[in-house]
């Protein structure tokens, strides 16, 4: 089965039809015409040297539009002649087709201009500033994670879940942008389930690994998800790390996130092959605690997940080493009038509001 990009299929069909229909004038290029609005232009592309793949509008607009390509994956390399591909969607008559997938970088220039000239502050995203770890022990793998989610210097969530379900025998810890780790693990988890139905077999860790790495590579690092993937399948226990650009490592012990250095120092001192279950859990908890106390981006509690052949145990909040240190015994009362009301002004939006009795019931 040779892999063909969807855009190639449309091009071949378009060329075939062109031959059949005879030469037709292009939709743009003539004075007074404009290129279609949707384009997947990589932000750093050089418009001087563009390879343009036109996908022309055709009689069967709807069908062509649904098969339009998602994202171009031509990475710039120092050796190539700066070939970038500009892939455009057909206009398809009306403008009511939603974006089918991939990232639309059309607003990047505008955002940059607004940030520079108008001083507009671009809203940030929630990063997990995390410590996540995994290690292989005698009977399987142990995964660990802290539970703090930060938004800059502020803790957004004191007890979030960073160990995500992939399959009953495979779990994945996620560091980086919270939305990205959630979305990518949910997506691959669904894909694995469908695959299980299709094959009738237990999922393998390498399947999850390949699905994750190909997705992340396709998005060229813009999906900021750094993952520690672990599980036990028919071929044995496996532990992998996946980086945002799509590279992977297969390791006996691994750490990721802002607290990875603190956690790795513990692993490098104390890890050995063939740990028992208790030793494995203790070492993982110790590594995560090192991240929690020494890294400001990690904190709160320790989550642990132990996966062995046939059994998975998700130990949520296995350790709670950070209780609140002081509680005022007095408590607080927020009585009416405690916040001073300086002035009150009521503006009627509608001058006369009439309630019509027995009018028509509202339509659904």
């Amino acid at each position: 089965l040779t892999r063909v990009w969807p855009c190639e299929l449309s091009i071949k069909r378009t060329l075939k039809r062109k031959k059949a229909n005879g030469p037709t004038s292009p939709r743009w290029g003539k004075p007074g015409t404009k290129p279609p609005p949707r384009s997947f232009l990589l932000p750093q592309s050089n418009p001087d040297s563009l390879l343009q793949l036109h996908i022309r509008d055709s009689g069967e607009q709807q069908i062509e539009a649904t098969k339009a390509p998602l994202l171009v994956a031509l990475a710039p390399s120092p050796h190539s002649d700066q070939v970038r591909a500009l892939v455009t969607r057909p206009m398809a008559g009306s403008m009511d087709l939603p974006t089918k997938g991939g990232f639309d970088f059309g607003l990047c220039r505008r955002n940059q201009m607004l940030a520079e000239k108008q001083g507009l502050k671009i809203p940030g995203f929630l990063k997990t500033g995390t410590t996540i770890v995994g290690l292989v022990f005698k009977d399987g793998v142990v995964l660990g994670a802290d539970t703090r989610a930060t938004e800059g210097p502020i803790v957004a969530d004191k007890n979030c879940e960073k160990i995500h379900f992939m399959a009953p025998n495979i779990y994945c810890c996620g560091a980086g942008t919270a939305a990205d780790t959630e979305a990518v693990t949910d997506m691959v988890s669904s894909q694995l389930q469908l695959h299980r139905y299709a094959t009738g077999r237990e999922s393998r860790v390498v399947t999850a690994l390949t699905l994750l790495k190909s997705h992340l590579f396709k998005y060229q690092g813009h999906v900021s998800a750094a993952l520690v993937l672990g599980g036990v399948d028919c071929t044995g226990p496996h532990l992998h790390t996946v980086y945002p650009h799509g590279s992977t490592d297969t390791l006996p012990f691994a750490t990721m996130g802002s607290g990875s250095l603190a956690a790795m120092s513990v692993f490098e001192s104390k890890f050995k092959e063939g740990l028992t279950r208790e030793e494995g859990i203790e070492l993982v908890a110790e590594a995560i605690s090192a991240g929690i106390f020494n890294d400001l981006g990690s904190g709160s509690n320790v989550d642990v997940c132990v996966i062995t052949k046939g059994k998975t145990e998700y130990l949520r909040n296995h350790l709670l080493p950070n209780p609140r240190t002081y509680n005022s015994s007095k408590g607080y009362s927020f009585t009416k009038g405690q916040t001073e009301i300086l002035s009150t002004k009521i503006t009627q939006l509608k001058p006369n509001v009439e309630v019509a009795e027995g009018g028509d019931a509202m339509e659904e």
Binding site: G129, R148, T150, P153, I154, V155, K158, S258, I292, F293, N294, D295, L296, G297, S298, G299, S300, P321, N322, R324, T325, Y326, N327, S328, S329, K330, Y332, F334, Q338, T339, E340
Partner: protein, 219 residues
């Protein structure tokens, strides 16, 4: 192009609350840079005179230099006037010291607390270049925006524009004020990554200055 960046924010939060006859000044003891902790036990508070205490957060290099500078100036005043500096006098001196470096500022966010000549609590709050105001309470530093709304709600201060001039100091008792400060810091520690480890509380009243330390979350 790498340029010399002379400043660094070492994090931390300072709070001061003035009462009738006492003043509470508190600051956490965490020193951090980026995502790392440099020290869990670095004091931000310095006693400048027997009724005057300064708490500063921001860049530790400038904090140390500023506090040393003020201590020296206070000593000179003592030698010239044969008495220790009062809190309002020190407040003006701090403002002038900060504005002196208007075009290469001290990266410090200060809160000065103490008793004035009548024995009533006073709190002075500053920005980095010396603009100051006498208030009933204040918070400065990375956790300030988490703490200030709570203090506004609990220690509701009358507007300084009202006539006749009303007392800005809180009617709360000393132990209640200390309890509030402890609770407010525990809350700020939950949500601000730069605040934590230990809380140093200094209380100034007619009998002198006494210190207290309580533990905060270390994560």
């Amino acid at each position: 192009m790498a340029r010399f960046d002379p400043y660094e924010n070492n994090g931390g939060t300072c709070v001061a609350v003035a009462g009738d006859g006492y003043c509470v000044v508190a600051a956490d003891t965490r020193l951090s840079v980026g995502y790392s902790i440099l020290s869990r036990d670095q004091s931000k508070i310095s006693e400048l005179a027997d009724k005057c205490v300064l708490a500063s957060s921001g860049f530790q290099g400038d904090i140390k230099a500023l506090q040393k500078n003020l201590a020296a100036k206070e000593l000179v005043y003592e030698h010239n006037h044969n008495k220790k500096m009062s809190c309002p006098a020190m407040a003006q001196l701090l403002s002038n010291t900060l504005y002196y470096k208007r075009f290469f500022p001290y990266y410090t966010f200060n809160v000065l607390g103490g008793l004035d000549s009548q024995g009533k609590g006073c709190v002075f709050t500053y920005d980095a270049v010396g603009s100051y105001e006498r208030t009933g309470y204040s918070a400065q530093g990375t956790g300030a925006k988490l703490i200030m709304p709570v203090l506004d709600n609990q220690l509701k201060s009358p507007s300084p524009l009202l006539l006749p001039a009303q007392d800005a100091v809180t009617p709360l008792s000393e132990s209640d004020a200390v309890d509030l400060v402890k609770d407010v810091f525990a809350s700020a520690t939950e949500r601000d990554i730069y605040t934590g480890d230990k809380l140093e509380i200094v209380v100034i009243n007619s009998s002198g200055i006494h210190r207290e330390c309580i533990e905060l979350r270390k994560d």
